[in-house]
Symmetry: C6
Subunit: 255 residues, 6 copies
């Protein structure tokens, strides 16, 4: 049998950097898609970035958010752009670390869900056509939702749906990768700014996208990594050497 | 992670136009099918349009409604016509915007459901024949419906059903597209009238179908788009410049 | 979105005629099968018609009923004859209107169910042999039936069952169609008598089957079609012109 | 729509004869298998017939019963003999009426169940080998059995199981048919004795199997067929002609 | 319909003999496997027999039991040996009676379960590798277990699992058969000793395995077969001839 | 029927040795992976071993634990390393005993689960791409979890997932095997130290990994094997010969 001993709530430097590049990836792809055809006086069909942050909140290590433009319906390009933007985080991580992380699981889930609805609910696949696939069944019972989408189609149709969903996600992955690779300098700029400022708003992003540096006051850093905590503790121990108790939560011994 | 910040209840100009063309698409296909064989003194087998509106109601952005003629049974042509008419909305959007929108999801669902019942319940597919496919099972339990249609046939039959359902929907899609493309002037006329008058009744549609213009009094416009609200606010701010509070609900900042 | 405005409880002329021919189809096939081998002093193995009616009752637009001869077991020919008779309604509609209607859904369901039980429970398919396919599982729980027939056989067997069930129904369809086509005069006679008398008993059917006309007193007609209601209303409006209130339920405006 | 008017509890002559031949078929196959290798001083591995009756009891139209010899395990030959004996009823009906009846559904179910257990539980198929297929799952809940046998094997195995089950049942069907066809005189003898005496015990069967006639007192006949009830009624009506009320339960009018 | 009349709790001679050989088969295979490589000073990896009995207990007709050696993990050879030993009972029956009995159902189930766990849980199939197949799902609800193992793999994997499970069981079957066939004298010796002594302990088995006879006192026989009961009754009836009531429970009449 | 008599809570020598090698296998693979690229100043991406023990705890025979480094996301190499480390236990057993044991079931389950999530949730398979497969459905009901992951993909996709999951596990198995085979001396050293000291901490492992011997005080041995208990009992019986009661729990007689 194998198992881990205990798990602290402290973040590692690696996770912090990974998160910064991940969110920078989302933001960069979003901004680049928005700027498509800018010279033609047109914006790409995607909501503009509102804020990017690496301050953990409710289980998420970071967040890239946008201000919706009150649209009630989504166009096919908007849906595809959302898939590409979702892929941005993972691609950025991959470019920096040379490998994937589990942190993209939520984006992967979201992108797959959008692609699946494009094919199965919104009739946006030329191959499958303007049909609905799958049926909502069951009911809420004693206040609990027991509903589930049942597969009311043949195995052959299931395969065609799978192929279309996979095609959509991998095409947008390739597109997002190309966009990021052609703008690596901006990826680094945004990620580094995130590590310095922790949160960027849409004006900061605009500054970084034209190649300028942020000049506004840096916030008092709130995130402490495991490495910083340990360093601090070592420093304090030296100061207090032999003279008092160690303050703060217990720290995992160096392994 | 990615996510949107907040969502207002205000409509965009794009959604309004999309809705106008979408409902115009339904109405046009319905009217054209009704007029089939008009010279032969016969009407197409479909319920005539009663009212078309782009005033949002209960989650729907617009509505094309008809007055049923009290029929208790549906003929195969009526069922096919309903599928074609359902496709009209999406085709109109596609012709105008050059791409699909998620707004047609409900029509797609309805058209697929009609086509599926034609094949599985009403014996209207020559290929599958006069048989019933699928069985209603389960029960209402503690006042909740747990029933579900179970697949009591082989995978091969499932494939044949899928093929027939898809054939029916795509054939009616092609038919509706042909009808709209041959009557683009009328599509524009109805959509534009909808944007001006918001709601059209069957007499208005008749006027537009013969190429005339509506001359009746326009209603006091009730729908305000995000763009109009912003414009108005800007104008008021200029008037009130420095002199008072801004009235009205908070408006998303320009992105 | 599309939707109908409201639905009255009044019947259309087309539904009434459709129902008359539909029930006439059931009755004619039943009587013709019963008369098979009449010269050999033998009757076809089917229950004789007891009554045919186009007076709606409990959701059904019409009804063809028979008096069971107390049999406790059904022969294979009886089962096949029941399938053929079930198909009679739909075939009659098709011959008259040139297309199918949704009204045959119940017959299609019944015929498929009989054919399926012939193959899966009663061992009446030479190809599948004297075996039972499918197993009754589950239970009544808190007074509700949760039982369901589970598929305890392979996909290959499922395909063979489907093929046999389809063969049985389509063969009887063809047989019933041939019988009706060879006796179109009788179909018209029964259908017309139904429209005149609304309900026919087995003696009336006997009279019509030998080519005679009914001479008994017609009933005071009870079914009023939408067309008759409108006509009457128009007449009354003329009589009352400007002089009083309109009696009766609200009528849908002509569309 | 089609439907039957009402259903009486009276039996028809045809059902009575069918039942007599059906039970005679079971009994004959049982007795013939028991007598196999009689000259070798050995009995076939099957329980000897105890009683055969055509008096309806609890939903069944007739019953062939045996006295179990207290065995706790069943041999493969015993299982096969039971399948053959189960088929006997249906084969006898087929030989007499030239077609199948629904009355054999229960025997078909029983034979299929024995064959399936031979293959899936008792390891009696050389092809599938000494393995168990399928798993009992679920539970009794609030006093109700929700258990079900789940298919824990591949589609290929499912097909092999189907093939073996079908082979077993059809082989025993062929064997039972051969046995009955070679002893048609005894089938008629037993069936006729059943119609006369209603219930036969194992001594009666022995007498009939060696070609003798029953000489014991006939019982006072208890079963009345629809035909006999009608005849009696007609006779009584003639006697009572115009003079009194008709006694007895209402009788379906001749159809 | 067919059915048996009543079922007594008395055992037949055939069942008793079958049980003796069945348990002897288990014991013999177990002892032979244990003795493998005995000259090399090593014992086969299996628990030694503790006791063999043909006295029915709780639904089982007999029992071969062992004393576990406190092992907490099972080796692959131990698992295979257990499968072979489970097959021993059925093989012994087959050699004696020339055919299978239903009494081996429990062993078949146990052997299949071990083989399935070897493949799906313990990674003991070279072909499938060190992976787990199937997932425990569901929950205990209102004190009842609703959990079930769901198939979370493809049909192709299901086929490979089936093939491996079948290979394991049939290989061990062949191995056990070979062992028994090469030691038929010992099988007879153990079975006969069981019929005489009803229960054998591991010392008795040792004596029989080296070819010696048991010399210890026989127990007062407790099991009476149907045949013995009948004989005794006949004898008593002769003694009591005409003089008194028959004692003891009712006995099924000879069939 | 077959069954074991009773089961004591005492451990056998074989289980103890197996456990020592099993845990040594986990630890060795973990340490070797951690040391990868040590000369490049880099550590392999895996949590360092914290403690290894063969003292049974809560159903587990032994435990290899690590101190997590507070990481919030897992890299692909970390996931693969965890799979390899999980395989280490089983490989060590196999090398020592020449065959598999059931004790690795938990590791196999864990490794398969990680590999499956790599493919289905974390998009770490190049072949399947950055998509999510399977959907969490159902709900917690009356405080019980009824959720389950439903397969929302085609059989073809299921096969591809199976292939990828199997490829990942078998590749890591091969890798771990190679690592252990190249460091057999260390495997023996750790296993032997475990048998002597029962629990090793990360400093002990470090000593053993560089080829030194442990010199710290041995603990008072707490685990007693069946063999030791029996020996002790025999010794005490000799001492007490004829003079008193035997102390301690009943011991299974030698088999």
């Amino acid at each position: 049998l194998m198992g881990n001993e205990r798990r602290s709530m402290v973040m590692t430097m690696r996770d912090l950097e990974t998160t910064a590049y991940h969110e920078a990836g989302h933001a960069l792809v979003g901004e680049l898609i928005l700027g498509t055809d800018a010279e033609a006086g047109k914006r790409g069909d995607i909501d503009p970035i509102h804020k990017v942050t690496i301050i953990p909140r409710g289980g998420a290590l970071g967040l890239t958010s946008w201000l919706p433009d009150d649209r009630k319906t989504m166009s096919k390009s908007y849906a595809l752009n959302r898939v590409a933007m979702a892929m941005g985080g993972r691609i950025a991580e991959e470019l920096i670390h040379g490998e994937y992380n589990t942190g993209a699981a939520n984006d992967i889930d979201q992108a797959t869900e959008i692609a699946r609805r494009m094919v199965c609910e919104w009739g946006m696949s030329e191959k499958l056509g303007p049909l609905a696939f799958g049926r909502k069944e069951g009911e809420v019972f004693l206040g609990r939702d027991f509903s589930q989408t049942s597969q009311n189609y043949s195995e052959q149709t299931a395969r065609e749906i799978d192929d279309e969903v996979r095609r959509i996600v991998t095409e947008q992955y390739a597109r997002a990768k190309k966009l990021i690779e052609a703008n690596l300098d901006k990826l680094h700029a945004i990620a580094k700014a995130l590590l310095e400022y922790e949160t960027l708003d849409h004006k900061d992003i605009d500054v970084l996208m034209v190649g300028d540096s942020l000049t506004r006051t840096k916030p008092s850093i709130r995130i402490k990594t495991r490495e910083q905590i340990e360093e601090e503790r070592t420093r304090k121990e030296k100061e207090n050497d032999g003279r008092g108790a160690i303050l703060g939560p217990p720290v995992p011994e160096p392994s």
